[in-house]
Symmetry: C2
Subunit: 225 residues, 2 copies
DNA sequence: AATCCCCCGTGATTATTATAACAAATGATT
DNA sequence: AATCATTTGTTATAATAATCACGGGGGATT
């Protein structure tokens, strides 16, 4: 089963190629988490209605998302928890273990290092980079920290494919440039509060905490008298 | 100028009520940051084309977003940097200084505390909450940390309106419940990797780092051979 | 086995968001 | 002043995403 980035409702394509919309992938991860929980609770079946209530989604949305991958539920009954869990797990599982690196071992970088989000069997964190002499050369959370000046060379040598950027805004572009120059980087997850420009074939995802807070406050302004 | 949360393209309403789509608000924050930078560089004018190039957006998107708030640009010329900066600042500025609290002073909570995202004149961080005895009673980054058992009472007394949730997933719902019980909370920004359920009139924004990483990996799988 | 209520899968519809296209305005140039 | 190259504001259109609505299994119950 192949898949690729796509803006639009998920559709089956003749050639066996499946294109899944980003909002659907996001919800698949939520379904996966929920199923994991239900699995642990030894729950046997669950309906789209129930999934929707637990995640704050419409039942029809849940059914549509799940139906993109074949008829996995049972009419009149619901979805078999373990089967659906395994199914979504297959969909989300990568076809390889990605090699990743984190640039900027500051407050946020260290928080990430300590968190389970970076302990996944989908990737292996192979290197850290920083320009702070007190960090370079250290082994932090079991991962060696290198000088960011050597980034291009080390990323190329280690064949790092994914970059997590937790450097200050001013260092984001130069860090991205150094990493991309290695030629191995396929994707970047950036937390910097600035836009970065990379070659077209590098996929960038941005997590912008300040923006989310601003949006919350903006819409609060309108909803409250 | 009033505004409220709304799913759909921004429209002027007769009554002077303006409804702005969330994607537009998100980009407004990006425009604001960029304008701040251009302002510091003493740039005088900028075109929608240039803004778009710097932020990775189409010029037509930029013009559309900016036009919701009246004719602020000058045809044949572009947008006057300082004027647009001030204008967006007005749009984004709250009609009050929000009182906020942060629950869960762990790795992520502390990273946020140290970051400028929580040093804004749009809100005042009034309280921290944790259930770790080594944190309760301390003053962390200048903010007092209270026992999470006392949350309802303290939030009510301090009239906290916005909550930042950085507790483990298992503590997210109980924390939200305790806070909401105070009756003063209007909005929540949660980083927990779980859904929380709150009354309809409480606005929830979620930042889910693991989900973003999962999405990146999923779409990498499809884009790479 | 007939009846009933349940609940999935899916095509149709609606809602939302992005892009394109162009008239109108602006300042520069001749 | 007329012409021209620009660049906005805005309407029209396209693209994307969510929801509805219903056909059709599925199993329990009588
Ligand atoms: N901390 C937060 O809660 C938070 C919230 C929102 C956004 N962010 C964003 O995340 C990023 C990191 O924030 P932070 O709070 O961890 O900052 P920080 O200052 O604590 O850490 C930044 C790290 O990057 C390193 N660094 C600086 N320049 C570098 C370079 N050229 N190459 C390699 N490393 C370099 C520094 O030595 C430091 O270790 C920033 O862009 C920030 O805007 C952070
Ligand atoms: N650290 C990260 O980079 C990261 C990444 C993605 C998601 N998250 C999410 O953010 C949240 C916090 O993560 P973290 O890494 O900071 O965890 P952490 O364990 O470092 O911190 C959690 C804090 O919450 C406190 N706490 C626990 N139960 C509490 C309760 N009932 N009331 C009040 N406080 C309580 C703990 O004492 C601790 O100080 C989690 O939901 C996590 O999934 C964190």
């Amino acid at each position: 089963m192949n898949s690729c980035a796509f803006r639009g409702q998920a559709i089956f394509k003749e050639a066996g190629i499946m294109k899944i919309a980003e909002p659907t992938v996001e919800r698949l991860v939520l379904y996966y988490r929920l199923l994991s929980q239900l699995h642990n609770e030894e729950r046997r079946v669950v309906s789209s209605q129930e999934i929707g209530e637990m995640l704050g989604l419409k039942a029809s949305q849940v059914r549509k998302d799940l139906s993109y991958f074949g008829e996995i539920g049972k009419r009149g009954v619901g979805y078999h928890v373990d089967r659906l869990y395994q199914h979504i797990s297959n969909i989300l599982s990568p076809n390889r273990v990605w090699k990743i690196a984190l640039v900027g071992v500051g407050r946020l970088g260290e928080a990430l290092l300590g968190h389970k989000a970076l302990r996944s069997d989908k990737f292996k964190l192979e290197a850290l980079f920083d320009n702070d002499p007190s960090k370079v050369g250290q082994v932090i959370c079991g991962i060696p920290c290198y000088d960011s000046e050597e980034m291009t060379e080390i990323i190329r040598r280690k064949e790092i494919e994914v970059l997590i950027l937790t450097v200050p805004a001013g260092a984001a572009q130069i860090s991205a440039d150094r990493a991309v120059a290695a030629g191995t980087v396929k994707g970047v997850l950036t937390f910097a509060t600035t836009a970065i420009s990379v070659p077209e074939d590098v996929l960038v995802y941005r997590v912008d905490i300040s923006v989310e807070l601003e949006k919350l406050l903006f819409f609060l302004k309108g909803s409250v008298a």
